[in-house]
């Protein structure tokens, strides 16, 4: 009945799996980037749950760093997406095969 740390860990595991499915199966790069955000949120849930379990605040500090990295990753990723779309006129990951032989 009581919500323990294990509940949070299971929730974050499921969120991580959903995000991985999104990254590996979708074609649209925008949805790929959104799936990365899902995975980073799963990490944050874990960090905050263990921070509450230990009654220490370091986990929340690291979650702030994760959010910072997520913001930087979204900005750079969307910049790459705009540059790619300007050159290739597609947002599908499997049509961008410049490095494939």
């Amino acid at each position: 009945m009581e919500i323990t740390t294990s509940h949070y860990v299971v929730l974050s595991t499921l969120l991580l799996v959903i995000g991985s499915v999104g990254i590996l199966t979708r074609r649209n790069i925008l949805v790929l980037l959104m799936s990365v955000e899902l995975i980073l949120n799963a990490v944050n849930i874990n960090l905050v749950a263990f921070s509450a379990a230990h009654q220490q605040v370091e986990g929340q500090v690291f979650a702030i760093f994760v959010i910072t990295v997520a913001a930087a990753e979204a900005a750079v990723g969307l910049g790459i997406l705009i540059a790619l779309f300007r050159n290739k006129h597609t947002v599908h990951a499997d049509e961008i095969d410049l490095l494939r032989w």
């Binding site: 740390t5 499915v21 590996l24 925008l30 009654q55 370091e58 929340q60 779309f85």
Partner: protein
């Protein structure tokens, strides 16, 4: 009307349980909708719902400052950036095209194996993750003044990572501008 401490503790545990399951259902359902919607705008809106649920989980774990950061930075910043880019690239013809890549069955098999592995780890570690300190629920208000505590830790023990994060953000800003800048000679003045 005065409640006894045990009744209060039972009530708070009941609220914790109910809110946790409601938020977990919202997070997981919205995440599944995020990765299955055809329309990218719909996916973005479902992702916003997921992020709000995660902010609620932060509130439940006594991380109020982080819940605010989640709403402001993720929903107010990152998702607006996503929606701007969705407006820049045409998504109308998406509804007639394939959603999933060719390797989807291979990918699903790999993910099934990885999640089976994760589930083994989680189910074996269920007992060890619940610390003795957590067996007794933390007294109400044990993590009070959350913003002050986070700020003090951030600016004392983690000052160097904090400054490095600002450098990272600067690099990301410059990189995003350089990459999305047009290279046409007629537009360069």
């Amino acid at each position: 009307m005065v409640y006894s401490p045990s009744a209060l503790r039972w009530l708070s545990m009941l609220f914790d349980t109910v809110f946790f399951y409601v938020l977990a259902a919202q997070i997981l359902g919205s995440a599944i909708m995020t990765i299955t919607r055809r329309n990218v705008v719909h996916a973005a809106v479902w992702l916003i719902s997921t992020l709000i649920g995660v902010a609620g989980i932060f509130l439940l774990s006594a991380a109020e400052f982080l819940a605010g950061v989640q709403v402001i930075v993720y929903i107010g910043g990152i998702m607006v950036l996503f929606l701007f880019v969705i407006m820049l690239v045409p998504v109308q013809e998406e509804s007639t095209e394939r959603r999933f890549a060719n390797q989807k069955w291979l990918a699903l098999g790999a993910i099934a194996m990885v999640s089976a592995m994760l589930m083994v780890v989680v189910t074996r570690g269920v007992g060890s993750m619940d610390l003795p300190a957590r067996a007794e629920p933390a007294p109400l208000g044990a993590l009070t003044e959350n913003s002050e505590k986070v700020g003090l830790t951030l600016f004392s023990d983690y000052l160097l990572p904090f400054e490095l994060a600002s450098v990272l953000l600067l690099v990301a800003i410059i990189g995003a501008i350089v990459m999305s800048k047009t290279r046409n000679t007629e537009t360069e003045s």
